[in-house]
């Protein structure tokens, strides 16, 4: 057997640096880069912000069909002022999806916190700040319990959080005695509904924007965010690179519980109470926004800004349809369809990307 594979060829000097890379490789990529920058950039922008265009077109159609009702301040306030809870739930979902986990209990944690505020402050007469703190702590603790069961004990996340979701719904129903709480103070309402700068938008809208932007910055520009992305992309690669994978997974569940809890407290504060049995109806809209959000800003990735935009895109569609005279069922149809279409489109797009 000859072993002269790597022996220096007689003619070539052994000290010559590596020969130029095989002809064609670098020049070909260089040419491809310079040949189609404009169209590529247009396609890139279309991929990132296509949904925003659809949003604007949709708003324009409503404006033409129902100018009197759709183009009013009240409609704008309904669209932008009522969705902060969904933004917090969407942010919670993004945090767990990014690290490759799953959390179906976000809406129930939100509901438990919202119920706790009302029950403690109104029914038992505790000071409202204490009630808020207890409700907040309850949400964090639920997230930590999810994290403990899933990460430390190694139980399947879908089964665990599905069970937790129903369990926490039941707990909320129990402590409220199946009665809708109401009667929280106007001061507490200001925490959520204070009209900032007189634009007619409640402060909770800005909370949502700040949380989504801050989380987007963390994901894109911090070591923690990079580590989270790698844990989601390939857990073993992350572990072998020195990333504390378990800590990050656990942290994602705690963050998820925390964000959901804040969403619940804001909801209870702005409405003045909460019906514990309704929390389940928040899960699907939040997941729909999160999945459809993968089609915006960073196509193919769960991202907080895409989720934020999608929340307002979806509610615009629903408010417009309701103003056109469709009744309550329309939001179910719209959210359900958005979820299925979002997953289908992103999966097909992904397959085409891979095949290319």
């Amino acid at each position: 057997m000859s072993h002269d594979l790597d022996a220096p060829p007689a003619a070539a000097s052994p000290t010559t640096p590596p020969a130029a890379p095989p002809p064609g490789t670098t020049t070909a990529t260089g040419a491809r880069r310079s040949a189609a920058p404009a169209s590529a950039r247009v396609r890139d922008l279309a991929g990132r912000y296509g949904l925003v265009v659809v949003w604007l077109v949709m708003a324009a159609v409503y404006a033409v069909l129902i100018p009197d009702t759709f183009l009013s301040l009240g409609t704008a306030q309904t669209i932008f002022g009522s969705q902060a809870t969904l933004v917090f739930l969407g942010t919670a979902a993004v945090a767990v999806f990014v690290v490759g986990e799953f959390d179906l209990s976000i809406a129930s944690i939100m509901g438990l916190s919202a119920t706790t505020v009302g029950v403690l402050a109104v029914n038992t007469g505790l000071p409202e700040p204490v009630a808020v703190l207890v409700a907040f702590a309850a949400g964090v603790a639920c997230g930590a319990l999810n994290g403990f069961i899933i990460v430390v004990l190694g139980i399947d996340p879908i089964v665990t959080t599905l069970g937790m979701s129903v369990l926490l719904l039941g707990v909320a129903q129990a402590i409220s005695g199946l009665v809708t709480t109401s009667g929280l103070s106007d001061q507490l309402a200001l925490v959520a509904s204070y009209n900032v700068g007189g634009f007619g938008l409640p402060i909770s809208f800005y909370y949502g924007v700040v949380v989504a932007v801050a989380f987007a910055v963390v994901l894109a520009y911090t070591p923690l965010g990079r580590h989270m992305n790698f844990v989601g992309a390939n857990r073993e690669v992350a572990r072998l690179s020195g990333v504390r994978v378990q800590r990050i997974r656990f942290g994602a569940y705690v963050f998820s519980g925390t964000s959901s809890s804040i969403g619940g407290i804001l909801l209870a504060a702005s409405v003045g109470g909460f019906d514990s049995s309704t929390s389940g109806s928040y899960l699907l809209p939040a997941l729909a926004a999160t999945f459809l959000g993968t089609a915006v800003v960073q196509p193919g990735k769960f991202n907080p800004l895409g989720t934020l935009i999608t929340v307002y895109f979806l509610i615009t569609g629903i408010v417009g349809l309701q103003l056109l005279g469709f009744s309550g069922w329309v939001s179910n149809v719209f959210y359900g369809a958005a979820l299925v279409i979002a997953v289908t489109v992103s999966t097909v797009a992904r397959q085409r990307l891979v095949r290319r």
Partner: protein, 518 residues
């Protein structure tokens, strides 16, 4: 070997080809990865399909397996009869063409019997239930045909890699009628340990002698020259050598045909004089133990490259992972790195070993090395993002500089930082993996099979980069079964047996010396 060659030639001259592919093109988007490619495998011949990473040979195999649909015009014939398109796995196997993929395609959590008989299970008797005693016998017979003694009731995931490959090959071969059919072995020896290779080669030769055709896809040129009577070479999607006979060909000549240029010479790496006289070792292993390692003590000097090799389960495959803190549950012993401190390997995780300056390049690139859905730049910089963040934020500047440095050191192509790692060829992904850790300038660089599944060009570049890391002061621990690699870069080679150091070879040494000592 010469007898096989002559048989192959005679068969090629006299009969229609067993497998004939002609005018095969395949376009992905705007790039054409196969251009009118063709290949003809004669009955009873061992034929090799060769080419660099990215030359199109994986695509050709995927078209044959029905995973990719070829551009119109392609014709596939088996024994002279055209196979109707689209090709499907069931369609081609019904005509006697079986493909063993590199990933083996075993189902974890199921027994050897179930895996071997997968796809052949039939209900028997009046009840139409599967008779497991019968299936078990058939599985044992299929394994016996490969001279393999594997417990048919074990779970495949509990088998060592070598036996897993045997199970996959047994499954492919049982469908073959002796003397007929064609088996495609796509990098199948990649996961086989060195010591089972002679037996595997004997099996391939025996099948070919009976008249079954074998098409092997391999980067191991010595293996190709040993087994194949003819080669077909792809370069940039075009056939540059169609059925060229291998008789009298050297590895260097074969490398030239594959690369289309002279292979750049690799000067054997030797430790520089000043580093040789370093006062203290850079790394010291004390009584390292694991599942197969049974007590290894070792000192590595700065700039020294220490090779570790051995047969299956000798401990040479496990040692890198124990040292790097990847298997804290089974590891025992201590690792001391000069200037970094000491780590108790029992219970210490990767974050503890990386903190004292250890870097591990694992062999399982897809599952442990790089995350293919993240970009090249993100993969390369991952181990350092925490340390190099400024005021908690990651800036582009240093990341771009690291990526450029990676491209310069290892000539990564294409040099595009924001491309997903999956878009790079296997050889370039391997370079990204190596760069990811070299750029940490580790005090102790641990590598396991760094050149597996890469072509000859990339292999020389990877070995040169390992040598350069040692020149810059790293202590290097290189675990490999590639004797040629070890002979080229190592100052010392340790041969492990039963978990302990059995022999120690010092440079200068040849690959044959290492093989003889193993």
């Amino acid at each position: 070997m010469t007898a096989v060659h002559e048989a192959g030639h005679a068969a090629a001259a006299s009969t229609t080809a067993r497998l004939e592919v002609s005018d095969l093109s395949k376009t992905f988007g705007r790039s054409r990865v196969l251009k009118h490619a063709s290949i003809a495998v004669a009955p009873g011949e061992v034929h090799a399909l060769l080419g660099q990473n990215g030359s199109g040979k994986s695509t050709l195999i995927k078209v044959l397996s029905g995973l990719h649909r070829p551009d119109p015009g392609a014709v596939v014939r088996i024994d002279g009869t055209e196979v109707p398109q689209p090709l499907t796995p069931a369609g081609i196997s019904a005509r006697g063409l079986t493909i063993v993929h590199q990933s083996l395609g075993l189902v974890p959590g199921h027994t050897v019997t179930e895996n071997v008989r997968l796809g052949q299970l039939r209900g028997r008797g009046w009840s139409r239930l599967i008779r497991w005693s019968h299936e078990r016998e058939r599985a044992v017979a299929a394994l016996a045909a490969l001279h393999a003694d594997i417990d048919p009731d074990r779970m495949v995931d509990q088998l060592p890699m070598g036996q897993r490959a045997t199970v996959a090959i047994a499954r492919a071969m049982q469908g073959i009628v002796p003397g007929r059919g064609c088996i495609v072995l796509d990098e199948s020896t990649q996961s086989l340990p060195r010591d089972v290779l002679p037996g595997f080669y004997a099996t391939v030769r025996r099948l070919a002698a009976q008249g079954t055709s074998i098409l092997i896809v391999s980067h191991r040129l010595d293996e190709v020259l040993q087994l194949a009577s003819r080669v077909t070479v792809l370069r940039d999607g075009e056939v540059t050598a169609a059925g060229a006979p291998t008789a009298g060909m050297s590895e260097a000549a074969l490398a030239r045909v594959i690369l289309g240029r002279e292979l750049v010479g690799f000067v054997p790496h030797r430790r520089t004089a000043e580093l040789r006289d370093a006062p203290a070792p850079a790394a010291r292993l004390r009584d390292v133990r694991g599942a197969t390692v049974a007590g290894v003590d070792l000192e590595i000097a700065p700039g020294e490259v220490v090779g570790v090799t051995g047969a299956t389960d000798s401990g040479s495959e496990e040692l890198p992972y124990l040292v790097a803190g990847v298997r804290p549950a089974v590891a025992h012993g201590h690792l001391e790195v000069a200037g970094g401190g000491t780590v108790d390997l029992a219970g210490a995780g990767v974050s503890a070993t990386t903190a004292i300056g250890v870097a591990l390049v694992p062999s399982d690139r897809a599952n442990e090395g790089i995350a293919v859905t993240m970009t090249a730049l993100e993969n390369v910089t991952l181990p350092r993002v925490k340390r190099r963040a400024q005021r908690g934020l990651l800036r582009r500047g240093w990341q771009q500089r690291e990526f450029d440095d990676a491209c310069a050191r290892l000539s990564v192509t294409p040099p595009e930082p924001d491309l997903e790692a999956s878009a790079f060829s296997g050889g370039n992904q391997q370079k990204l993996l190596l760069a990811k850790w070299l750029l940490s300038r580790p005090a102790l660089l641990v590598l396991h099979e760094p050149t597996q599944a890469v072509d000859v060009g990339a292999r020389a570049e990877i070995l040169r980069a390992v040598g350069r890391a040692a020149d810059e002061g790293s202590a290097v621990l290189l675990s490999s079964i590639e004797a040629q690699d070890l002979a080229l870069v190592c100052d010392r080679v340790l041969v492990l047996a039963d978990g302990r150091i059995a022999r120690e070879l010092h440079a200068p040494m040849t690959a044959d010396d290492i093989l003889a000592a193993t």
